[in-house]
């Protein structure tokens, strides 16, 4: 397989299919890094990834169903912060507000470590001319309209992605 234009810059094609806080990071990190290296980048948002195109990002994380996810405390002495808290499923599933607590703990820990927020990473992507494309079919299924998304978002379908990905040097499904 060869690129239709051999002189074109390198290209990254991503599919972002998950909308939780933890899974929102990989596509925006890779897209902004590739954009910073002068690559063409297109991210296709489908299924739960579509929520990452909304103006207000509400991505949350749940330790329920994430058995390997360590819970870290973002405060206290270093030894305390490094403890991996094991939370029983019964507690995670039944205590109201547990998901909000887990989300805040992760956001605070990321902030303390110096990780950019999803908002900052998305803004960096836009500044680096990364194309953000919503999948029309899943928008119909979940009841999203183009106006629900940030104005820079484009709309496309499977053929749009495949044509773009066929000319890409790196393609990843996240």
């Amino acid at each position: 397989m060869s690129k239709s234009n051999p002189n074109a810059p390198k290209r990254l094609a991503l599919i972002s299919s998950k909308g939780t806080l933890d899974w929102a990071y990989p596509p925006f990190i890779l897209a902004s890094a590739a954009g910073a290296m002068g690559w063409e980048v297109g991210v296709f948002f489908t299924f739960y990834g579509l929520t990452l195109l909304k103006p207000e990002l509400t991505a949350a994380v749940s330790p329920l169903g994430n058995p390997a996810m360590p819970m870290k405390m973002p405060f206290g002495p270093e030894g305390f912060k490094n403890i991996n808290w094991q939370m029983p499923n019964l507690l995670m599933a039944n205590v109201p507000g547990f998901e909000g607590l887990a989300t805040n703990l992760m956001k605070q820990t990321f902030h303390n470590k110096g990780v950019a927020t999803i908002e900052e990473l998305r803004e960096s992507c836009l500044e680096l001319d990364v194309r953000l494309i919503g999948c029309q079919m899943t928008m119909d299924v979940f009841g999203f309209k183009k106006e629900d998304f940030i104005p820079q978002a484009e709309i496309g379908g499977a053929a749009t992605f495949l044509e773009y990905a066929a000319d890409a040097d790196v393609q990843l499904f996240i």
Binding site: A33, M37, G114, E120, S124
Partner: protein, 81 residues
């Protein structure tokens, strides 16, 4: 003789405290402001920066003149292509 004292930077960018991918995102922004041949000194505390800045340099064609480590701090001199 210390190489760091020989190279004279035009602009300094301090990315201390930032983690991947912000050091290279900020570096890209800073280098766009420079003229061809000018030198950017970038400071980072992200242990991923030495390999990442080397990769960024190869991909963008902006030359990595020097990469040094001072304790937990990494210093890079990058020449705009």
């Amino acid at each position: 003789m210390n190489d760091v004292e020989v190279i004279k930077e035009d602009v300094v960018l301090d990315c201390s405290g930032m983690l991947c991918p912000m050091p290279i995102v900020k570096t890209t922004k800073a280098i766009k402001e420079l003229q061809s041949g000018q030198i950017l000194k970038m400071i980072s505390t992200d242990a991923g920066s030495p390999p990442d800045i080397a990769a960024w340099s190869r991909q963008t064609g902006n030359e990595l003149l020097l990469s040094t480590t001072e304790g937990n701090t990494f210093v890079f001199f990058l020449k705009k292509s």
